[in-house]
Symmetry: D2
Subunit: 331 residues, 4 copies
């Protein structure tokens, strides 16, 4: 049984609280939030003690592991505190607003020797994980071409976007991680192209809403990632990997399986309307993998350094967007 403290009781904190409560190997003992009433709302439904005193969440006599689901600017501080207390930590991404800060905190945490994981939940998507298993077992030979689509149904609020760091750092970063994880290689260079097609306001702060990044792996394999903020047809996520002897695809997902035939065609259930329902099961699966690592004393399924590397690719991609050149990734 692993005793957990949850840091942060906002939207994503509530998702994690529900998964912590449902995991049979987890005891949710503390929920911390600067706003005590928010913490209380979660402990009322999922158990544990609410607190607005941060030190309650980092008390090694009561807690084995900390789940950091607070706002991005406080991640680094909470990671350090977990390291100081010798507690295992599962942390939402990104680890820090800038790559420099993130690098600093990762080195700090690594020095402490605690088990730490960045919550790259998409690695735990059932279909993506199945795709990787097929590749790892040699099902398609050596990887030669990867395509990933990351397409949200609607533009997030412009106020959110303004401070997000840009589409490649905020949205595509998940897929930069998937790329490394699936291929087992660190991209050497990246070329990115982007446009503002949805809301001209993005131009004001140098962001784009539709972009394409092409990465080159050390083996020469190529990776294409398209990122779209607003589709007209729901949430669209898809991975396709071509190897020397075959191809494997984690297909678009629909929440239903109904088809209607008429003289004008066949109409089938569309894609998920939003990203959350599609992605929801991955949070519980990521948590379960972290808990298993703790119980079996095996390495973190997503070391903090993986978060750094994904951020490094995002930096190079963002630079390429400006320069119109292929940029080398500096890890």
């Amino acid at each position: 049984m692993q005793r957990f403290a949850l840091i942060g009781a906002g939207f994503i904190g509530a998702v994690h609280a529900e998964n912590l409560a449902a995991n049979p190997s987890v005891d949710l003992v503390v929920v911390y939030d600067v706003d005590l009433s928010r913490a209380r709302a979660l402990t009322g439904r999922f158990g544990g003690r609410p607190t607005d005193d941060e030190s309650d969440a980092f008390d090694p006599s009561e807690v084995d592991a900390v789940f950091v689901a607070s706002s991005t600017d406080t991640h680094a501080a909470h990671l350090r505190r977990a390291a100081d207390a010798g507690l295992a930590v599962l942390c939402e991404k990104p680890l820090a607003p800038t790559l420099a800060e993130a690098t600093e905190v990762v080195e700090y945490v690594e020095a402490s020797g605690i088990v730490a994981m960045v919550d790259f939940n998409r690695r735990f998507d059932r279909d993506h994980a199945h795709l990787k298993r097929i590749i790892d077992e040699g099902g398609i030979g050596a990887i030669e071409l990867v395509q990933m689509s990351s397409r949200g149904p609607s533009l997030p609020p412009v106020d959110y976007l303004r401070v997000s760091g840009g589409q490649l750092r905020d949205q595509t970063v998940h897929f930069f991680d998937l790329c490394r994880w699936i291929a087992g290689q660190d991209p050497v260079s990246v070329a990115a192209t982007g446009s503002v097609l949805v809301d001209p306001a993005l131009t004001g702060f140098g962001d784009v809403d539709t972009s394409v990044a092409t990465l080159t792996l050390p083996s020469g394999a190529l990776v294409q990632i398209d990122s779209v903020r607003r589709t007209g047809y729901g949430y669209d996520e898809r991975i396709e990997v071509m190897g020397s002897s075959g191809l494997v695809e984690s297909r678009r997902q629909s929440p239903g399986n109904v088809s209607q035939y008429s003289s004008t065609g066949i109409v089938s259930t569309g894609l998920y309307a939003g990203w959350f329902e599609r992605v929801r099961p991955t949070y519980a699966a990521a948590l379960a993998a972290f808990v298993t690592a703790l119980e079996t004393r095996t390495p973190s399924p997503a070391p903090l350094r993986d978060g750094l590397r994904a951020q490094a690719i995002a930096e190079a991609a963002t630079a390429s967007l400006g320069s119109g050149r292929t940029e080398t990734v500096v890890y």
Copy 2:
């Protein structure tokens, strides 16, 4: 808030307990089982008071509704007791081992005026319900031909089958109900054909493991239902309805969406290995529909009499299996 007593803490009782605990409009107050330790196992996880005193479950001062998930031979007694206490009741099917007993208890309960529902959970399958909605909105015109497949992955234990009443009463009965529900018509006649292809032991008690039933609706529309106890490829459930202007299909369901392309073909995720994972969400949806009916004082979404009618079709189908003749259904 509806206060519920759960009667029966076996496998299916545990499923219902979890759904009762998760439904925000339900307060699970009592779990009754003849074996108190089984009741306790559920209340420990899902809340409520365990008891082996049946009268605790039918106390109107504490309970608004009873969920009957006990063994089949006690359903009738529990239904009567709920009627006597004036409690709403949601009951597992079948209502009683024989049609005669079922008819008697349904009339008793109807006379009492309580809200009562038979747990025809497949009506609440997201895809089947979507299919019905399309039909009800005129999407395919008048129904002309219906096909339903009910195919389990493996033969249930022969000891279970021996007392099950036969494949048509035990397995196909769910689809007899779906047929009535989808078409909004009561079949007038049925012809059934069956074989023993999996285990010759079934011949000893007159059962079959593979069968086909053809029903005729009052409109002349035809319905084919195939029932298979053991496929070699997982759990296979599928409904197709052809109307005068189109066709709608609730397709086979896979738990994943991965496809692998090679020179020998395209391999995609197969069907669910078992029936339970496929059908699981329907239990919570059926419960939610019952609770909504209670809260909005609207009619039962599956009156007990619907259970009777499905049983009547099963009787006629079973008779046809023996006679080799098309048999009229007597309601």
Copy 3:
């Protein structure tokens, strides 16, 4: 090189003329029709000598094989004439209007020793043939359940239907043959149910437009065939075979592969509008198989007797439609 005479220059004769002309092992030497101008229309496009003198088509010094594509009531006479002349013969189905006449002519032709084939073209459908290959190679184990759908887009003219012999003899007979061919077994009994849902005029001559037949094979395996004269969504043909270890399906066919995603669903290319485009390639494939049999001196890929057996099943099915009983098939 096989020298062919074509008997009959109507719609289906023109289809065969085109295939004869395109087959590199065939020399189309004569086209016979009672109406010389129709014969001429074909020889103008596809070569050969037009004639309205039947004896030209059965002259062994000029002709090796005869393709009988004349009207049904003359098939038997042309078959006998081919037998008398010692010519190989490929004949459109049915062999004769009644089972008795058909039996007589088959015995006559068999006695002559010529190579004769009934044009069961659906056996040569690429997908159906692939399905059979998988079954024959043991891909699904022993056959347990077969489903076939035969659904035309629109009701043929009532004048045609009046003399067609009824839906089971006219339409379903192709699938009775497919059933025998796929399973490699002769059905022992059949139960059929039918309705008039499209045009009440059919009631006047005892026909139906929507029907279901259930056949039992000697192994106990069950076969369902639905036959529909008028769908609202195009031409729909589909075969599914379940065995003891798996299932194989020759799926519905679309003439295109376009999908459109929107917020209301995914719209894909519908089915073929008519039967002819869907079935067209099977005629050339059937001819090619016949020619190969001639050239390699191997047995007919569809002996005339197979035509008889399919007709015998149709007779029993038609009887069942009237009696409401399962009927034994008499071969």
Copy 4:
């Protein structure tokens, strides 16, 4: 009736001869080849007079239109000769080995006023054309992102590749044309990345076998094209266009529709083994469109200048491959 001369009786010439013979509005009168025996082989099967005298093919008293299917280095000369003779011309691509030569001949032909078409046959693929129709009718709103895959099953002979001009000029050029044609816009810039993953010999002459090109349209819409010389799973061609309100896809094509279900997954018919069977119907469709333009005196469905523009994009893409920069396309 349009009288055609066919120039070139090699592999692709034979394909065109068959289509010319089958087109009811075409009279194939002359087949020219420097090797008279090759011309004869075609006229023997498809009609017309064989010749090795080029002037027979450009005689306006006998010929209305010329189909140029000769070797690439003679295309320009044949185009000029058709222009001089005032004959309509349908020409295989590319129009000339270099963009400069191609520009020169296009201007020469345009000045002559003849109807001229470059044989961009993929525009006439049934599914691609359907996709374009949906877009043109506003089915997905304004184009925002296009993805095209061009993937051959096996590496062409290295001797062919050595003189092909490189993957982007030789293979991707078809898709540069499709991009312009679908979007109705001329790309302003292109960035390309490529690798040698299949045969190191390509490095010797600066070619790649796996590449990705990203184009930017004047509207800001982005286009990704991946080009692969050797898949391990057959011929793979696919177009996907996302617009402001939806997405449309011309899907991968299989030559069959069989699915086999087992406990380990669902195996379906794979892709076409080679490009030719997949693309074959487009040649006849392109010819038909040309003939229709002649008969109805409407503009060429693919003016020669379109060939130039596609070549211009290929030049810029090839330059980007070397420079690592986004390159502007110069038309």
